[in-house]
């Protein structure tokens, strides 16, 4: 039974001696700043919003900012090592890795001129990211407005709408915004479906690089969409371009399913280009985990029914999706599974004993990958190659 790699030794103790009380013991931004923010929001002076870098959802974020929030969107350039380094230096060392990446992104966005930062809320540590990052960035000296979806979560959509109106733009045309929000959902569905097609087929392109070229132009088309009609048009064209690419696909290719944590298993910057590495080896890749399946169509109790041999309760934010997808892939005769997560991601660590049982029951190999900010690219290459060789040998034998 394969075991995941161990954590690296880290610092074990620290002391803080600050005898003077310089500010009130609170993480909440002080009242003066709140007042200033409210004033600026009212007069709509804050205009440039930035998200963190996240997978291929950048067009959807752009559409959301420009069409729903009615503010400018500040796109971030390609990620660099230096940007992540800022995040690593300014966060506690054993916090989960996405926190560090996102903090680095935010610092970079503020350097580039963003006024508004947008952060999600979620059921695990993610729910606390926004507040802590805001406090860290303010301590670093930045001034900005944080639009934190972890606030107002008790009231659901209404709470979020109030939060948006309060912090970002009080003059949003609400009915118009709701229509555009539906278009955002459509765009996410289309992006996910494009990505699914890409993952399944890009490994077998005759002309190397044709899928990547089509992908880039599809993303460009998505970025310039103004309404749902544009989105559908862009999707149709992108799909047509994908389908037109000549393939040389064997009847029974090696198929790998990726499961794992929401951020690391999808985001190519955090998982060191896992998608591209697998595709380059000529593998058909499947990944059930995406926004569409986790948010737009997520029905946890029903999803759990399919994996009820392994699950009694919902084990965590994406755990049911991880286990259900793993079981589906294993039962569907996939050659191998890859479980990707960031270091210290508690819900996904707790999924590992379950995945080990799935692996035993269906005799399907699982490669457990843990990423932290120091994980090396070559180390990953070696592991993936070894895993691929093992799978292809297993496949040869069973023929």
């Amino acid at each position: 039974m394969s075991k995941p790699q161990a954590l690296i030794e880290q610092v074990r103790s620290s002391v803080a001696v600050e005898l003077e009380r310089r500010h009130a013991p609170t993480l909440l931004a002080d009242r003066k700043a709140a007042k200033a923010a409210k004033h600026k929001a009212k007069h709509h002076k804050y205009t440039k919003a930035a998200f963190f870098r996240y997978c291929y959802y950048d067009p959807a974020f752009k559409f959301f900012c420009e069409q729903v929030l009615d503010v400018d969107y500040l796109p971030l350039p390609e990620a660099t090592r230096a940007a992540s380094e800022v995040g690593v230096q300014n966060s506690s060392d054993y916090v989960c890795t996405p926190f560090k990446h996102i903090l680095g992104d935010f610092a970079e966005a503020l350097d580039l001129g963003a006024d508004i930062l947008i952060q999600f809320g979620g059921p695990c540590r993610l729910g606390y990211y926004g507040e802590l990052q805001e406090s860290i960035l303010r301590d670093m000296g930045y001034e900005f407005i944080m639009m934190n979806f972890a606030r107002g979560i008790e009231l659901g959509y209404i709470g979020w709408a109030k939060e948006v109106l309060k912090t970002v733009n009080p003059n949003i045309d609400v009915p118009h915004g709701v229509v555009k929000l539906k278009a955002v959902a459509k765009m996410i569905e289309h992006l996910d479906s494009l990505r699914d097609f890409y993952l399944a087929n890009a490994g077998f392109e005759v002309q190397r690089g044709s899928f990547d070229a089509a992908w880039v132009s599809a993303m460009d088309a998505m970025r310039t969409c103004l309404d749902e009609r544009d989105i559908n048009e862009a999707y149709r064209e992108a799909m047509a371009a994908f389908r037109a690419i000549p393939l040389d696909k064997p009847a029974d290719p090696i198929r790998i399913g990726i499961v794992g944590e929401m951020f690391t298993a999808i985001d190519e910057r955090s998982n060191l280009g896992l998608d591209h590495k697998l595709v380059a080896m000529g593998v058909e890749v499947h990944r059930m985990l995406n926004f569409t399946n986790r948010y737009l169509r997520y029905n946890e109790p029903n999803l759990r029914v399919g994996a009820k041999d392994y699950l009694t309760y919902d084990m965590g934010p994406t755990s049911t999706l991880t286990v259900a997808a793993a079981k589906k892939y294993a039962a569907g005769g996939f050659d191998g599974l890859i479980h990707a997560k960031s270091a210290g991601c508690t819900p996904e660590i707790d999924c590992i004993p379950v995945l080990q049982k799935v692996s035993e029951d269906y005799s399907v190999p699982v490669l457990y990958l843990t990423y932290d900010s120091q994980t090396s690219d070559t180390g990953l290459d070696t592991r993936l190659e070894a895993f691929y060789d093992m799978l292809s040998m297993k496949k040869e034998k069973s023929k």
Binding site: L27, E131, M315
Partner: protein
Amino acid sequence: MPQTTDWADVQVVGIPRALLFYRFGVLWTTFFESIGRTVVVSDPTDKAIADGGDRLSVDECCLASKVFIGHVESLAGRCDAVFVPCYPTSDHRSGFCTKFQSATDMVRNTFRDDKLRVISCEVQNARKVKDVRRAFCDMAARMGVAPKDARAAFKAAWDAQRAHDEALADAQERTLRRLIDERRAADAAAAAGDDSVARPLGILVVAHPYISHDPYLSGAVIDSLEDMGATVVYADAMDHERAYKKSFEFSGTMPWLINRELIGSILLAQDDIDGIVLISAFPCGPDSMTDDAIMRCIQGTPILNLMIDAQSGTAGVETRVESFVDILRFQQKGGYVHE
């Protein structure tokens, strides 16, 4: 739908002495005893249990979780079934680490080949008596207990837990009051020119209850604090309700109940104590974020942040605690710089 009573034959219930046992243990044991079952609580943590848990767990799990798995293993063969409840984060401001949500299925899968039976219930919101009662009464129904008896047992259990919590909170209050009195007496004596009356040293220990009250995990820290003459106040044992409400002054979006109570206790007790010691088990998820927040935002009181893991010997801990207490004592005498 007829209720299945597939747990009716469970007569001896095993409860691991780990994780939330330190928070809700009285409720659990009283409940099972009141419905006529025998309760076996696993022995206090020792090296064998910790090592067993380490062997069975995934390497990356936190120390507390490994110890928990060790306790479950030690119960195998000593009971008919092990009780592992599930505490999901259904309320966004009073949830738990996802570890407590996945504990049931983690144990079920880890011990699947050993045919270990697990009984469980899903408590949606631990702060709402209705939610807790529903979970426990549903479980009792599966154990073949009549609804009326289950409700009576639950009431007894809930009251017992509350009485237990109140007694603990009272003890902390008394300690804090004693510290204030002693400090006043020392000040009065010093004003009168008598330096022989020592000022007390109050230390607030901030840690999850399953860390601070488990002698194997944090005993070395608590012992060396007491050996140095410090008075220890436990943040986790202070009045939960007051601390929870107070925590909203510190953070609006913090999702964890226990961390909220700890931070609320810090805010409540900060003026009456001399130093704060944070203890967390490596690598605790919630603590990785809240400790950072505490270290940066709580000012005016020196803070020692200690991380314990399976490898750390007591010597390292003692030196750190000693030097911290020295800082505090020095501070009491006027500090490094005489202004």
